[in-house]
């Protein structure tokens, strides 16, 4: 803001300490309850669970224990599938809301599309269980109509975890992609049409590239939220295959092993940071 300097000068001299008095509580809170815990976690990850003393064994365990390593592989696979599916499902949907729905209904259509966003997160995963269980809605419908004889194993599978995640992220990505499409000036489309491009070419060569930054921001958000989530895999996936957050919680819940849980959390954060750096080119746009 350009007028900051002026308003600063307009302050009485006695008020020089005021700006710091305003920002210090928030900064202090962040330092005390966000930065300091993070440092504590860093230290903890370098100590032995029993007896204390500094060690790198928590980190080396991750690389040598195949089941820990597998949790990360599972997490990355699930997150990649979820992100891809969510973008593929949400993009046409957002496009239809932005282009095919009449202007005055758009706000309502969008609000309806994100309404289930506001159910409790724990409850939303549980409701998918109602749909996917052995005697749940889908299996009852399939056996009832005679399509299959035996109920399918849908709950407690990777498919269930992915379904629960995609359900959540389709709503999120619809929001971000819709906003992105609405920001496009209609003149791009007109210009492409004037130059003789058909609808398909216009979409592939004009609309899609212009909305790519928005997609990347949404995909990154999906990645971060998905890979760090404990609830959905725990409720829907069961314990058949572990994802990283489940592994972290297991160290705390069953074994009280804070150092190992800290090390695994830090590894998880490192992966997110790498993903951030990989998309930084697109993500910077939001910062400006």
């Amino acid at each position: 803001m350009s007028s900051n300097g002026n308003s600063g000068n307009a302050l009485p001299r006695a008020g020089r300490a005021l700006p710091w008095a305003l920002v210090t509580p928030a900064l202090g809170w962040t330092l005390l309850f966000f930065v300091l815990p993070f440092i504590a976690m860093g230290f903890s990850s370098l100590t032995a669970h029993e007896g204390g003393g500094f060690t790198l064994s928590n980190y080396s365990q991750f690389f040598t224990n195949p089941s820990y390593w597998q949790a990360m592989v599972n997490s990355l696979q699930v997150t990649a599938i979820v992100t891809l599916l969510s973008v593929l499902l949400a993009y046409p949907f957002a496009w239809i809301l932005a282009e095919q729905v009449p202007e005055r209904w758009q706000r309502l259509a969008l609000m309806l599309a994100v309404l289930p966003f506001w159910t409790s997160y724990v409850v939303r995963s549980y409701s998918w269980l109602l749909v996917l269980a052995q005697n749940g809605v889908i299996n009852r419908a399939l056996t009832g109509s005679g399509l299959i004889a035996e109920p399918l194993q849908l709950a407690n599978t990777r498919l269930a975890t992915v379904t629960g995640f995609v359900h959540f992220f389709v709503m999120l990505l619809t929001l971000t992609i819709f906003a992105n499409l609405k920001q496009l000036s209609p003149s791009y489309r007109k210009a492409a049409a004037d130059l003789g491009a058909g609808p398909v070419r216009t979409f592939l060569h004009v609309i899609l590239p212009l909305t790519l930054p928005g997609i990347m921001v949404g995909a990154f958000l999906t990645f971060v939220l998905c890979i760090g989530d404990y609830i959905t895999p725990q409720i829907l996936g069961g314990n058949n295959e572990l994802l990283m957050p489940q592994l972290v919680m297991m160290q705390i819940g069953r074994r009280g092993d804070f150092p190992l849980a800290s090390a695994l959390s830090i590894i998880l954060m490192a992966v997110v940071t790498v993903a951030y750096l990989a998309c930084a080119r697109w993500l910077k746009i939001e910062r400006a």
Binding site: L11, P25, A26, V122, V123, S127, L130, P245, F258, M269
Partner: protein
């Protein structure tokens, strides 16, 4: 061709809406189930499970705890966020960009890791698990949100009103309380209600940092161990209703801002 695109679009949109609404409809429908299992065929309608939820002391006290933690932690987050937003928007501070970045940093870290960090810190400092500890975590996740909302709404026209008040001899605290707070009220309420919805629904931090007294999402989690149960449907539907009320309040405060 155009007609075909239209028909395919409608079918696609309806399918996605169906996918999005399926679990919610199933949840609410089977909360009205008369028998003991929330599975087809539907045997309702009956309000007995709502009755069971409202007479369950653990659930109702968890509900009160959730509302308490959500309102107090949101009030704290919005106060800290507002003061710092005002400070950064109105005064030139050295390293301002960096400090603003620091305040918004928690937005990029998953709740699980924020909760873990606090758990390790409190464990070392000997702070017992409690609703207060969880509330502290909720302020950590909501403060950046409140700050970002309020900071983005600090416009230039408000500076002039504040300056006029100062010229007329108002001390800083009067400018803040009588001018800035009322002018910024829509953004402040929007930040408050949005924080409420997040804190009200937050699970992992509360799960890690509370023990005996706990919040509703954690209590629902405990309920899930008993398998599919219409009581869970009923409490879930109630949580949905409260969230919708909060979101409507958020929308209304935001819409009021747009009109002025």
């Amino acid at each position: 061709m155009r007609q075909l695109v239209r028909v395919v679009s409608w079918l696609y949109a309806l399918t996605v809406y169906g996918f999005i609404f399926l679990p919610v409809v199933v949840l609410v429908l089977f909360s009205l189930q008369a028998t003991s299992f929330p599975i087809p065929p539907f045997t309702g309608p009956s309000l007995r499970w709502y009755d069971a939820v409202l007479s369950d002391v653990r659930l109702t006290s968890a509900l009160v705890n959730s509302l308490l933690v959500a309102s107090i932690s949101s009030a704290a987050a919005v106060t800290l966020g507002f003061l710092s937003a005002w400070g950064f928007a109105r005064f030139v501070l050295p390293g301002s960009g960096l400090l603003r970045g620091l305040i918004t940093l928690p937005l990029t870290v998953s709740y699980l890791i924020i909760g873990m960090g606090l758990l390790v810190l409190f464990n070392w400092a000997g702070v017992p698990k409690s609703l207060l500890a969880a509330g502290i975590g909720h302020v950590v996740i909501n403060l950046p949100l409140c700050f970002a909302i309020i900071y983005s709404q600090m416009g230039d026209h408000q500076i002039n009103i504040e300056r006029a008040a100062r010229d007329l001899g108002a001390p800083e605290w009067k400018v803040l309380l009588l001018i800035t707070v009322p002018v910024m009220a829509p953004a402040i309420f929007a930040g408050f209600f949005l924080s409420m919805t997040f804190s009200w629904d937050e699970f992992v931090i509360s799960f890690l940092l509370t023990r005996f007294d706990t919040t509703l999402p954690v209590e629902i989690w405990n309920l899930l161990r008993s398998g599919l149960n219409p009581k869970t449907n009923a409490v879930g539907s109630l949580v949905f209703a409260v969230s919708i009320v909060l979101v409507v309040l958020f929308e209304l405060t935001l819409l009021r801002r747009r009109k002025t």
